[in-house]
Protein backbone atom coordinates (compact mmCIF):
# COMPACT_ATOMS: atom_id res chain seq x y z
CA UNK A 1 0.00 0.00 0.00
CA UNK A 2 1.07 3.54 -0.71
CA UNK A 3 0.41 6.44 1.64
CA UNK A 4 0.04 9.96 0.32
CA UNK A 5 0.92 12.77 2.72
CA UNK A 6 0.09 16.34 1.73
CA UNK A 7 2.25 18.93 3.52
CA UNK A 8 2.01 22.72 3.60
CA UNK A 9 4.67 25.37 4.00
CA UNK A 10 3.40 27.90 6.54
CA UNK A 11 4.70 30.62 8.83
CA UNK A 12 6.60 29.03 11.71
CA UNK A 13 4.26 28.48 14.65
CA UNK A 14 6.52 30.41 17.02
CA UNK A 15 6.42 33.59 14.94
CA UNK A 16 3.88 36.23 15.86
CA UNK A 17 2.26 37.20 12.55
CA UNK A 18 2.07 40.89 11.64
CA UNK A 19 -0.76 42.36 9.61
CA UNK A 20 0.41 44.55 6.70
CA UNK A 21 -0.45 48.20 7.21
CA UNK A 22 -2.33 48.35 3.89
CA UNK A 23 -4.69 45.63 5.09
CA UNK A 24 -3.93 43.25 2.20
CA UNK A 25 -2.70 40.38 4.31
CA UNK A 26 -0.12 39.14 6.75
CA UNK A 27 3.49 40.12 6.12
CA UNK A 28 5.38 36.96 5.13
CA UNK A 29 8.50 38.66 3.74
CA UNK A 30 11.62 37.53 5.65
CA UNK A 31 9.55 35.51 8.09
CA UNK A 32 10.67 32.03 9.14
CA UNK A 33 8.59 29.38 7.39
CA UNK A 34 8.26 25.70 8.37
CA UNK A 35 6.18 22.63 7.75
CA UNK A 36 2.70 22.97 9.23
CA UNK A 37 2.90 21.20 12.64
CA UNK A 38 -0.09 18.94 11.95
CA UNK A 39 1.54 17.83 8.69
CA UNK A 40 4.70 16.79 10.55
CA UNK A 41 2.45 14.54 12.60
CA UNK A 42 0.95 13.18 9.36
CA UNK A 43 4.39 12.41 7.92
CA UNK A 44 5.42 10.76 11.20
CA UNK A 45 2.30 8.58 11.22
CA UNK A 46 2.90 7.47 7.63
CA UNK A 47 6.49 6.54 8.50
CA UNK A 48 5.36 4.58 11.55
CA UNK A 49 2.84 2.67 9.42
CA UNK A 50 5.64 1.87 6.96
CA UNK A 51 7.93 0.78 9.79
CA UNK A 52 5.15 -1.49 11.05
CA UNK A 53 4.99 -3.15 7.63
CA UNK A 54 1.58 -1.68 6.78
CA UNK A 55 2.81 0.47 3.88
CA UNK A 56 5.45 0.17 1.20
CA UNK A 57 5.84 3.69 -0.07
CA UNK A 58 5.23 7.20 1.23
CA UNK A 59 4.68 10.04 -1.21
CA UNK A 60 4.80 13.58 0.13
CA UNK A 61 3.05 16.28 -1.87
CA UNK A 62 2.87 20.02 -1.51
CA UNK A 63 0.97 22.69 -3.40
CA UNK A 64 2.74 26.02 -3.25
CA UNK A 65 5.67 28.17 -4.37
CA UNK A 66 9.11 26.87 -5.42
CA UNK A 67 10.23 27.22 -1.80
CA UNK A 68 7.75 24.53 -0.74
CA UNK A 69 10.48 22.21 -2.03
CA UNK A 70 12.22 22.76 1.31
CA UNK A 71 9.12 21.49 3.10
CA UNK A 72 9.09 18.40 0.88
CA UNK A 73 12.80 17.82 1.51
CA UNK A 74 12.03 17.89 5.23
CA UNK A 75 9.37 15.21 4.71
CA UNK A 76 11.88 13.17 2.67
CA UNK A 77 14.49 13.56 5.39
CA UNK A 78 12.00 12.32 7.97
CA UNK A 79 11.41 9.20 5.89
CA UNK A 80 9.09 9.83 2.92
CA UNK A 81 10.24 8.04 -0.25
CA UNK A 82 9.50 10.59 -2.93
CA UNK A 83 7.81 13.91 -3.38
CA UNK A 84 5.62 15.87 -5.76
CA UNK A 85 5.60 19.66 -5.79
CA UNK A 86 2.60 21.22 -7.49
CA UNK A 87 4.16 24.58 -8.04
CA UNK A 88 2.17 27.80 -8.09
CA UNK A 89 2.68 31.27 -6.69
CA UNK A 90 -1.05 31.79 -6.27
CA UNK A 91 -2.73 31.27 -2.94
CA UNK A 92 -4.63 28.04 -3.39
CA UNK A 93 -7.82 27.47 -1.39
CA UNK A 94 -8.60 24.13 0.30
CA UNK A 95 -11.17 23.21 -2.39
CA UNK A 96 -8.60 23.59 -5.20
CA UNK A 97 -5.94 21.77 -3.16
CA UNK A 98 -8.43 18.94 -2.62
CA UNK A 99 -9.06 18.78 -6.39
CA UNK A 100 -5.32 18.61 -7.12
CA UNK A 101 -4.93 15.88 -4.50
CA UNK A 102 -7.85 14.00 -6.01
CA UNK A 103 -6.02 13.93 -9.36
CA UNK A 104 -2.84 12.73 -7.67
CA UNK A 105 -4.80 10.02 -5.84
CA UNK A 106 -6.18 8.88 -9.20
CA UNK A 107 -2.60 8.50 -10.51
CA UNK A 108 -0.98 7.00 -7.43
CA UNK A 109 -3.88 5.07 -5.93
CA UNK A 110 -2.78 5.25 -2.25
CA UNK A 111 -4.58 3.16 0.37
CA UNK A 112 -4.47 6.06 2.79
CA UNK A 113 -4.14 9.80 2.49
CA UNK A 114 -2.95 11.31 5.78
CA UNK A 115 -3.28 15.08 6.19
CA UNK A 116 -2.95 17.50 9.06
CA UNK A 117 -6.31 18.54 10.56
CA UNK A 118 -5.71 22.20 9.80
CA UNK A 119 -3.03 24.58 8.59
CA UNK A 120 -2.01 27.17 11.17
CA UNK A 121 -2.11 30.02 8.64
CA UNK A 122 -5.66 29.96 7.24
CA UNK A 123 -7.02 27.81 10.11
CA UNK A 124 -9.58 26.37 7.67
CA UNK A 125 -9.73 22.70 8.69
CA UNK A 126 -11.26 21.68 5.35
CA UNK A 127 -8.86 20.03 2.90
CA UNK A 128 -9.00 16.45 4.23
CA UNK A 129 -12.78 16.39 4.45
CA UNK A 130 -13.08 17.94 0.97
CA UNK A 131 -10.69 15.39 -0.52
CA UNK A 132 -12.64 12.52 1.06
CA UNK A 133 -15.86 13.97 -0.38
CA UNK A 134 -14.43 14.38 -3.88
CA UNK A 135 -13.10 10.82 -3.82
CA UNK A 136 -16.28 9.38 -2.28
CA UNK A 137 -14.10 7.87 0.44
CA UNK A 138 -14.59 7.74 4.22
CA UNK A 139 -12.82 10.21 6.50
CA UNK A 140 -11.26 9.86 9.92
CA UNK A 141 -10.72 13.43 11.06
CA UNK A 142 -8.87 14.68 14.17
CA UNK A 143 -7.23 11.30 14.64
CA UNK A 144 -5.39 10.49 17.86
CA UNK A 145 -4.93 6.81 16.98
CA UNK A 146 -4.85 4.97 13.65
CA UNK A 147 -4.89 1.19 13.31
CA UNK A 148 -4.91 -0.61 9.98
CA UNK A 149 -6.58 -3.99 10.01
CA UNK A 150 -6.72 -5.66 6.61
CA UNK A 151 -9.00 -3.65 4.37
CA UNK A 152 -10.26 -1.30 7.05
CA UNK A 153 -8.76 1.33 9.31
CA UNK A 154 -9.90 2.06 12.85
CA UNK A 155 -9.50 5.70 13.82
CA UNK A 156 -9.89 7.16 17.31
CA UNK A 157 -10.98 10.77 16.95
CA UNK A 158 -10.68 13.70 19.34
CA UNK A 159 -14.19 15.11 19.66
CA UNK A 160 -15.63 17.81 21.92
CA UNK A 161 -16.82 15.50 24.68
CA UNK A 162 -13.87 13.11 24.64
CA UNK A 163 -12.89 10.41 22.17
CA UNK A 164 -14.81 8.57 19.47
CA UNK A 165 -13.77 5.53 17.46
CA UNK A 166 -14.86 4.87 13.90
CA UNK A 167 -14.10 2.10 11.45
CA UNK A 168 -13.49 3.13 7.85
CA UNK A 169 -13.40 1.03 4.69
CA UNK A 170 -10.05 1.48 2.89
CA UNK A 171 -9.03 3.41 0.88
CA UNK A 172 -9.63 6.24 3.32
CA UNK A 173 -8.63 9.76 4.28
CA UNK A 174 -7.29 10.53 7.77
CA UNK A 175 -6.50 13.91 9.31
CA UNK A 176 -4.17 14.15 12.28
CA UNK A 177 -4.69 15.77 15.64
CA UNK A 178 -1.88 16.89 17.92
CA UNK A 179 -1.80 13.85 20.14
CA UNK A 180 -1.48 11.25 17.39
CA UNK A 181 2.30 11.09 17.77
CA UNK A 182 5.50 12.99 18.46
CA UNK A 183 7.19 13.72 15.12
CA UNK A 184 10.86 12.75 14.79
CA UNK A 185 13.66 15.12 13.90
CA UNK A 186 15.46 14.52 10.64
CA UNK A 187 19.08 13.50 11.27
CA UNK A 188 21.89 15.12 9.32
CA UNK A 189 22.70 11.96 7.28
CA UNK A 190 19.00 11.67 6.42
CA UNK A 191 18.88 15.32 5.38
CA UNK A 192 21.79 14.62 3.03
CA UNK A 193 20.14 11.47 1.68
CA UNK A 194 16.87 13.35 1.17
CA UNK A 195 18.60 15.58 -1.38
CA UNK A 196 18.94 12.56 -3.66
CA UNK A 197 15.36 11.35 -3.32
CA UNK A 198 13.09 12.00 -6.32
CA UNK A 199 11.04 15.20 -6.37
CA UNK A 200 8.73 15.82 -9.34
CA UNK A 201 7.61 19.32 -10.13
CA UNK A 202 4.15 19.79 -11.63
CA UNK A 203 1.66 22.59 -12.02
CA UNK A 204 -2.06 22.79 -11.17
CA UNK A 205 -2.71 22.89 -14.94
CA UNK A 206 -1.06 19.45 -15.29
CA UNK A 207 -3.96 18.15 -13.23
CA UNK A 208 -6.54 20.30 -15.00
CA UNK A 209 -7.40 22.21 -11.84
CA UNK A 210 -8.47 25.84 -11.88
CA UNK A 211 -7.09 27.51 -8.74
CA UNK A 212 -9.03 30.78 -9.08
CA UNK A 213 -10.16 31.70 -5.56
CA UNK A 214 -13.84 31.41 -4.66
CA UNK A 215 -13.41 33.62 -1.63
CA UNK A 216 -12.16 37.13 -2.14
CA UNK A 217 -10.25 38.62 0.78
CA UNK A 218 -11.50 42.18 1.05
CA UNK A 219 -9.21 43.08 3.90
CA UNK A 220 -7.09 41.72 6.70
CA UNK A 221 -6.98 43.66 9.94
CA UNK A 222 -5.47 43.47 13.38
CA UNK A 223 -7.71 41.93 16.00
CA UNK A 224 -9.07 44.42 18.53
CA UNK A 225 -6.42 45.23 21.12
CA UNK A 226 -7.32 44.60 24.75
CA UNK A 227 -6.94 47.60 26.96
CA UNK A 228 -4.12 47.43 29.45
CA UNK A 229 -4.96 45.67 32.67
CA UNK A 230 -3.90 46.19 36.23
CA UNK A 231 -1.75 44.15 38.58
CA UNK A 232 -3.04 43.51 42.05
CA UNK A 233 -0.58 43.20 44.93
CA UNK A 234 -2.19 40.31 46.81
CA UNK A 235 -4.96 37.74 47.01
CA UNK A 236 -7.18 39.99 49.17
CA UNK A 237 -7.28 42.66 46.48
CA UNK A 238 -8.04 40.00 43.88
CA UNK A 239 -10.92 38.70 46.01
CA UNK A 240 -12.23 42.25 46.34
CA UNK A 241 -12.07 42.69 42.54
CA UNK A 242 -13.92 39.42 41.98
CA UNK A 243 -16.61 40.54 44.43
CA UNK A 244 -16.90 43.87 42.61
CA UNK A 245 -17.43 41.97 39.38
CA UNK A 246 -20.11 39.88 41.03
CA UNK A 247 -18.41 36.53 40.45
CA UNK A 248 -17.74 35.83 44.08
Amino acid sequence: MKILVPVKRVIDYNVKPRVKSDGTGVDLANVKMSMNPFDEIAVEEAIRLKEAGKAEEIIAVSVGPAKAQETLRTALAMGADRAILVQTDDEVEPLAVAKILKAIVAEENPGLVVLGKQAIDDDSNQTGQMLAALLGRPQGTFASKVEIDGDSVTVTREVDGGLETVKLAMPAVVTTDLRLNEPRYASLPNIMKAKKKPLDTKSPADYGVDTAPRLKTLKVSEPPVRSAGIKVPDVDTLVAKLKEMGVA
Binding site: K167, R226, I230
Partner: protein, 309 residues
Protein backbone atom coordinates in the same frame (compact mmCIF):
# COMPACT_ATOMS: atom_id res chain seq x y z
CA UNK B 1 -32.05 33.89 1.51
CA UNK B 2 -33.10 30.54 2.94
CA UNK B 3 -30.69 29.07 5.43
CA UNK B 4 -30.36 25.63 6.94
CA UNK B 5 -28.80 25.12 10.37
CA UNK B 6 -27.32 21.80 11.48
CA UNK B 7 -28.63 21.10 14.98
CA UNK B 8 -25.99 19.67 17.27
CA UNK B 9 -27.39 17.12 19.69
CA UNK B 10 -26.87 13.74 21.33
CA UNK B 11 -30.20 12.27 20.14
CA UNK B 12 -31.79 13.24 23.48
CA UNK B 13 -31.25 16.98 23.78
CA UNK B 14 -30.00 19.88 21.72
CA UNK B 15 -26.57 21.36 22.38
CA UNK B 16 -26.28 25.05 23.14
CA UNK B 17 -23.88 25.66 20.25
CA UNK B 18 -26.89 25.45 17.95
CA UNK B 19 -28.43 28.63 19.38
CA UNK B 20 -25.53 30.91 18.41
CA UNK B 21 -25.55 29.38 14.94
CA UNK B 22 -29.26 30.21 14.60
CA UNK B 23 -28.45 33.85 15.41
CA UNK B 24 -25.81 33.95 12.66
CA UNK B 25 -28.22 32.30 10.20
CA UNK B 26 -31.01 34.75 11.04
CA UNK B 27 -28.76 37.60 9.86
CA UNK B 28 -28.84 36.01 6.39
CA UNK B 29 -32.55 35.22 6.08
CA UNK B 30 -35.19 32.62 6.85
CA UNK B 31 -33.91 29.91 9.22
CA UNK B 32 -34.70 26.22 8.81
CA UNK B 33 -33.16 23.57 11.03
CA UNK B 34 -32.00 20.04 10.36
CA UNK B 35 -32.19 17.49 13.14
CA UNK B 36 -30.51 14.31 11.89
CA UNK B 37 -30.10 11.41 14.24
CA UNK B 38 -31.73 8.28 15.55
CA UNK B 39 -34.77 8.36 17.83
CA UNK B 40 -34.32 12.11 18.02
CA UNK B 41 -37.88 13.45 17.68
CA UNK B 42 -37.57 15.01 21.14
CA UNK B 43 -34.64 17.06 19.85
CA UNK B 44 -36.72 18.25 16.89
CA UNK B 45 -39.49 19.27 19.30
CA UNK B 46 -36.96 21.18 21.36
CA UNK B 47 -35.49 22.79 18.22
CA UNK B 48 -38.94 23.85 17.04
CA UNK B 49 -39.22 26.06 20.14
CA UNK B 50 -36.23 28.21 19.18
CA UNK B 51 -37.40 31.75 18.48
CA UNK B 52 -37.39 32.78 14.83
CA UNK B 53 -37.16 29.33 13.28
CA UNK B 54 -39.34 28.69 10.20
CA UNK B 55 -39.22 24.92 9.88
CA UNK B 56 -37.50 21.88 11.36
CA UNK B 57 -36.44 19.05 9.06
CA UNK B 58 -36.24 15.77 10.94
CA UNK B 59 -34.18 12.92 9.51
CA UNK B 60 -34.60 10.01 11.89
CA UNK B 61 -32.55 7.03 10.76
CA UNK B 62 -30.09 4.71 12.51
CA UNK B 63 -27.47 5.77 9.94
CA UNK B 64 -27.51 9.32 11.32
CA UNK B 65 -27.23 8.38 15.00
CA UNK B 66 -23.56 9.34 15.43
CA UNK B 67 -23.41 12.12 12.86
CA UNK B 68 -21.02 10.24 10.57
CA UNK B 69 -20.03 12.69 7.85
CA UNK B 70 -20.20 10.05 5.10
CA UNK B 71 -23.89 9.46 5.84
CA UNK B 72 -25.01 12.94 6.80
CA UNK B 73 -23.32 15.00 4.07
CA UNK B 74 -25.44 13.59 1.18
CA UNK B 75 -28.60 14.27 3.22
CA UNK B 76 -27.60 17.92 3.60
CA UNK B 77 -26.62 18.20 -0.05
CA UNK B 78 -30.16 17.06 -0.97
CA UNK B 79 -31.69 19.73 1.27
CA UNK B 80 -29.46 22.36 -0.33
CA UNK B 81 -31.72 22.11 -3.37
CA UNK B 82 -34.06 24.44 -1.46
CA UNK B 83 -31.60 26.40 0.67
CA UNK B 84 -29.00 29.03 -0.18
CA UNK B 85 -26.77 28.57 2.84
CA UNK B 86 -26.04 25.91 5.43
CA UNK B 87 -24.54 26.80 8.78
CA UNK B 88 -22.91 24.54 11.34
CA UNK B 89 -21.61 25.35 14.80
CA UNK B 90 -17.79 25.22 14.61
CA UNK B 91 -17.68 22.20 16.91
CA UNK B 92 -15.80 19.01 16.08
CA UNK B 93 -19.01 17.63 14.57
CA UNK B 94 -19.61 20.73 12.46
CA UNK B 95 -16.01 20.92 11.32
CA UNK B 96 -16.12 17.26 10.35
CA UNK B 97 -19.26 17.44 8.21
CA UNK B 98 -19.30 20.94 6.71
CA UNK B 99 -16.29 20.69 4.36
CA UNK B 100 -17.61 17.39 3.04
CA UNK B 101 -20.87 19.12 2.17
CA UNK B 102 -19.03 22.07 0.61
CA UNK B 103 -16.90 19.87 -1.66
CA UNK B 104 -19.96 17.89 -2.78
CA UNK B 105 -21.61 21.20 -3.71
CA UNK B 106 -18.35 22.40 -5.33
CA UNK B 107 -18.16 25.50 -3.12
CA UNK B 108 -15.55 26.86 -0.73
CA UNK B 109 -16.45 26.77 2.93
CA UNK B 110 -16.24 29.76 5.25
CA UNK B 111 -14.69 28.46 8.48
CA UNK B 112 -15.33 29.76 11.98
CA UNK B 113 -16.99 33.07 11.08
CA UNK B 114 -17.16 35.71 13.80
CA UNK B 115 -19.45 38.21 12.05
CA UNK B 116 -21.89 38.55 9.18
CA UNK B 117 -21.06 41.71 7.21
CA UNK B 118 -23.38 41.17 4.26
CA UNK B 119 -25.21 38.41 2.36
CA UNK B 120 -21.91 37.00 1.13
CA UNK B 121 -19.39 38.81 3.31
CA UNK B 122 -18.07 37.53 6.62
CA UNK B 123 -15.16 37.99 8.96
CA UNK B 124 -13.05 35.17 10.32
CA UNK B 125 -9.88 34.91 12.37
CA UNK B 126 -6.72 33.57 10.70
CA UNK B 127 -3.19 32.90 12.00
CA UNK B 128 -4.41 31.73 15.41
CA UNK B 129 -6.54 34.84 15.84
CA UNK B 130 -3.64 37.22 15.17
CA UNK B 131 -5.44 38.65 12.13
CA UNK B 132 -9.06 39.06 11.11
CA UNK B 133 -9.90 38.50 7.44
CA UNK B 134 -12.99 39.95 5.76
CA UNK B 135 -13.94 37.59 2.94
CA UNK B 136 -16.59 37.64 0.25
CA UNK B 137 -17.83 34.43 -1.32
CA UNK B 138 -18.48 34.18 -5.04
CA UNK B 139 -20.17 30.79 -4.73
CA UNK B 140 -23.86 30.24 -5.41
CA UNK B 141 -24.39 28.34 -2.14
CA UNK B 142 -22.77 29.11 1.17
CA UNK B 143 -21.37 26.55 3.58
CA UNK B 144 -20.39 28.15 6.87
CA UNK B 145 -19.16 27.13 10.29
CA UNK B 146 -19.94 29.58 13.08
CA UNK B 147 -17.79 30.41 16.09
CA UNK B 148 -20.28 30.03 18.91
CA UNK B 149 -18.66 32.56 21.22
CA UNK B 150 -18.95 35.34 18.61
CA UNK B 151 -22.77 35.37 18.42
CA UNK B 152 -25.49 35.81 21.02
CA UNK B 153 -27.57 32.72 21.65
CA UNK B 154 -31.05 32.74 20.09
CA UNK B 155 -33.87 32.37 22.62
CA UNK B 156 -34.49 28.66 23.17
CA UNK B 157 -38.21 29.23 23.55
CA UNK B 158 -40.92 31.32 21.95
CA UNK B 159 -40.95 29.64 18.54
CA UNK B 160 -43.37 27.10 17.17
CA UNK B 161 -41.93 25.75 13.95
CA UNK B 162 -43.48 22.86 12.06
CA UNK B 163 -41.58 19.58 12.01
CA UNK B 164 -41.26 17.93 8.62
CA UNK B 165 -39.82 14.45 8.15
CA UNK B 166 -37.16 13.97 5.51
CA UNK B 167 -36.00 10.59 4.32
CA UNK B 168 -32.41 10.79 3.14
CA UNK B 169 -30.39 7.96 1.64
CA UNK B 170 -29.23 6.57 4.99
CA UNK B 171 -26.04 4.53 5.29
CA UNK B 172 -23.38 5.26 2.65
CA UNK B 173 -21.61 2.03 3.66
CA UNK B 174 -18.21 3.67 4.02
CA UNK B 175 -17.82 4.00 7.76
CA UNK B 176 -19.24 2.77 11.04
CA UNK B 177 -19.26 3.94 14.63
CA UNK B 178 -17.34 1.71 17.02
CA UNK B 179 -17.58 3.48 20.35
CA UNK B 180 -17.06 6.61 22.38
CA UNK B 181 -15.24 7.51 25.55
CA UNK B 182 -17.05 10.45 27.03
CA UNK B 183 -15.18 12.44 29.64
CA UNK B 184 -17.49 12.67 32.66
CA UNK B 185 -17.84 16.04 34.31
CA UNK B 186 -20.27 17.47 36.83
CA UNK B 187 -19.01 20.96 36.07
CA UNK B 188 -20.44 23.31 33.44
CA UNK B 189 -19.49 22.67 29.83
CA UNK B 190 -16.34 24.51 28.84
CA UNK B 191 -17.60 26.27 25.73
CA UNK B 192 -20.76 27.62 27.36
CA UNK B 193 -19.46 28.33 30.89
CA UNK B 194 -19.65 31.86 32.31
CA UNK B 195 -16.51 31.37 34.37
CA UNK B 196 -13.52 29.22 33.48
CA UNK B 197 -10.56 28.34 35.66
CA UNK B 198 -7.71 27.07 33.53
CA UNK B 199 -4.44 25.49 34.58
CA UNK B 200 -1.10 25.17 32.84
CA UNK B 201 2.16 23.35 33.05
CA UNK B 202 3.06 25.00 36.35
CA UNK B 203 0.52 22.77 38.12
CA UNK B 204 3.19 20.01 38.08
CA UNK B 205 1.01 16.88 37.81
CA UNK B 206 -2.55 15.61 37.69
CA UNK B 207 -2.83 15.30 41.49
CA UNK B 208 -1.84 18.92 42.08
CA UNK B 209 -4.07 20.04 39.18
CA UNK B 210 -6.95 18.29 40.92
CA UNK B 211 -5.94 19.65 44.32
CA UNK B 212 -5.47 23.30 43.36
CA UNK B 213 -7.65 24.00 40.30
CA UNK B 214 -10.80 21.95 41.00
CA UNK B 215 -11.72 23.47 44.42
CA UNK B 216 -11.32 27.00 43.03
CA UNK B 217 -13.49 26.11 40.02
CA UNK B 218 -16.14 24.54 42.25
CA UNK B 219 -16.19 27.55 44.56
CA UNK B 220 -16.90 29.77 41.55
CA UNK B 221 -19.24 27.33 39.78
CA UNK B 222 -16.74 27.42 36.95
CA UNK B 223 -15.74 25.06 34.18
CA UNK B 224 -12.17 23.76 34.13
CA UNK B 225 -9.84 24.29 31.21
CA UNK B 226 -6.17 23.68 30.53
CA UNK B 227 -3.32 24.72 28.32
CA UNK B 228 -1.88 22.32 25.78
CA UNK B 229 1.19 21.83 27.98
CA UNK B 230 -1.01 20.60 30.83
CA UNK B 231 -2.90 18.26 28.51
CA UNK B 232 0.24 16.89 26.86
CA UNK B 233 1.77 16.29 30.27
CA UNK B 234 -1.31 14.21 31.12
CA UNK B 235 -2.66 16.39 33.96
CA UNK B 236 -6.15 16.40 32.41
CA UNK B 237 -7.89 14.82 29.38
CA UNK B 238 -7.49 16.55 26.02
CA UNK B 239 -11.07 17.84 25.84
CA UNK B 240 -10.07 20.36 28.56
CA UNK B 241 -7.68 22.06 26.15
CA UNK B 242 -8.30 25.71 25.34
CA UNK B 243 -6.51 27.12 22.31
CA UNK B 244 -6.10 27.17 18.55
CA UNK B 245 -6.10 23.39 18.45
CA UNK B 246 -8.52 22.88 21.32
CA UNK B 247 -11.66 24.74 22.29
CA UNK B 248 -12.37 28.40 21.65
CA UNK B 249 -14.01 30.00 24.69
CA UNK B 250 -15.20 33.48 25.59
CA UNK B 251 -16.57 33.38 29.14
CA UNK B 252 -17.33 36.38 31.34
CA UNK B 253 -14.29 35.56 33.45
CA UNK B 254 -11.28 33.48 32.46
CA UNK B 255 -8.82 32.71 35.25
CA UNK B 256 -5.47 31.50 33.91
CA UNK B 257 -3.39 29.80 36.57
CA UNK B 258 0.22 28.93 35.83
CA UNK B 259 -0.28 29.53 32.10
CA UNK B 260 2.44 31.52 30.32
CA UNK B 261 0.14 32.65 27.47
CA UNK B 262 1.58 31.21 24.24
CA UNK B 263 -0.14 32.55 21.09
CA UNK B 264 -1.82 29.20 20.50
CA UNK B 265 -3.44 29.41 23.94
CA UNK B 266 -4.42 33.06 23.58
CA UNK B 267 -6.18 32.18 20.30
CA UNK B 268 -8.63 30.14 22.35
CA UNK B 269 -9.48 32.61 25.12
CA UNK B 270 -8.54 36.19 24.31
CA UNK B 271 -12.13 37.19 23.62
CA UNK B 272 -13.07 36.47 27.22
CA UNK B 273 -14.66 39.50 28.85
CA UNK B 274 -12.32 39.63 31.83
CA UNK B 275 -9.04 37.75 31.96
CA UNK B 276 -7.38 37.14 35.29
CA UNK B 277 -3.86 35.74 35.41
CA UNK B 278 -2.01 34.21 38.32
CA UNK B 279 1.61 33.54 37.48
CA UNK B 280 4.87 33.87 39.34
CA UNK B 281 6.72 35.14 36.25
CA UNK B 282 5.88 38.81 35.93
CA UNK B 283 7.11 38.82 32.32
CA UNK B 284 4.78 36.01 31.23
CA UNK B 285 2.95 37.03 28.01
CA UNK B 286 -0.40 36.25 29.69
CA UNK B 287 -0.07 39.55 31.61
CA UNK B 288 -0.23 41.46 28.29
CA UNK B 289 -3.84 40.37 27.79
CA UNK B 290 -4.89 40.03 31.44
CA UNK B 291 -7.24 42.64 32.89
CA UNK B 292 -6.20 41.68 36.39
CA UNK B 293 -2.85 40.10 37.11
CA UNK B 294 -1.43 38.67 40.29
CA UNK B 295 2.27 37.89 40.37
CA UNK B 296 2.47 35.09 42.91
CA UNK B 297 3.28 31.44 43.41
CA UNK B 298 0.08 29.62 42.56
CA UNK B 299 0.69 26.98 45.23
CA UNK B 300 0.23 29.70 47.86
CA UNK B 301 -2.12 32.06 46.07
CA UNK B 302 -4.72 29.60 44.77
CA UNK B 303 -5.57 27.89 48.11
CA UNK B 304 -5.61 31.33 49.75
CA UNK B 305 -7.96 32.63 47.04
CA UNK B 306 -10.19 29.54 47.29
CA UNK B 307 -10.52 29.88 51.06
CA UNK B 308 -11.32 33.60 50.90
CA UNK B 309 -14.10 33.29 48.31
Amino acid sequence: MKTLVWVEHDNASMKDATLATVTAASKLGEVHLLVAGSGCRAVAEQAAQIAGVGKVHLADNAAYEHGLAENVAPLIVDLMGHHDAVLFPATTTGKNIAPRVAALLDVMQLSDIISVEGEKTFTRPIYAGNAIATVESSDAKLVITVRGTAFEKAAATGGSAAIEDVAGAGDAGLSSFVGAEVAKSERPELTSAKIIVSGGRALKDSATFEQYIMPLADKLGAAVGASRAAVDAGYVPNDYQVGQTGKIVAPEVYIAVGISGAIQHLAGMKDSKTIIAINKDEDAPIFQVADIGLVADLFNAVPDLTSKL
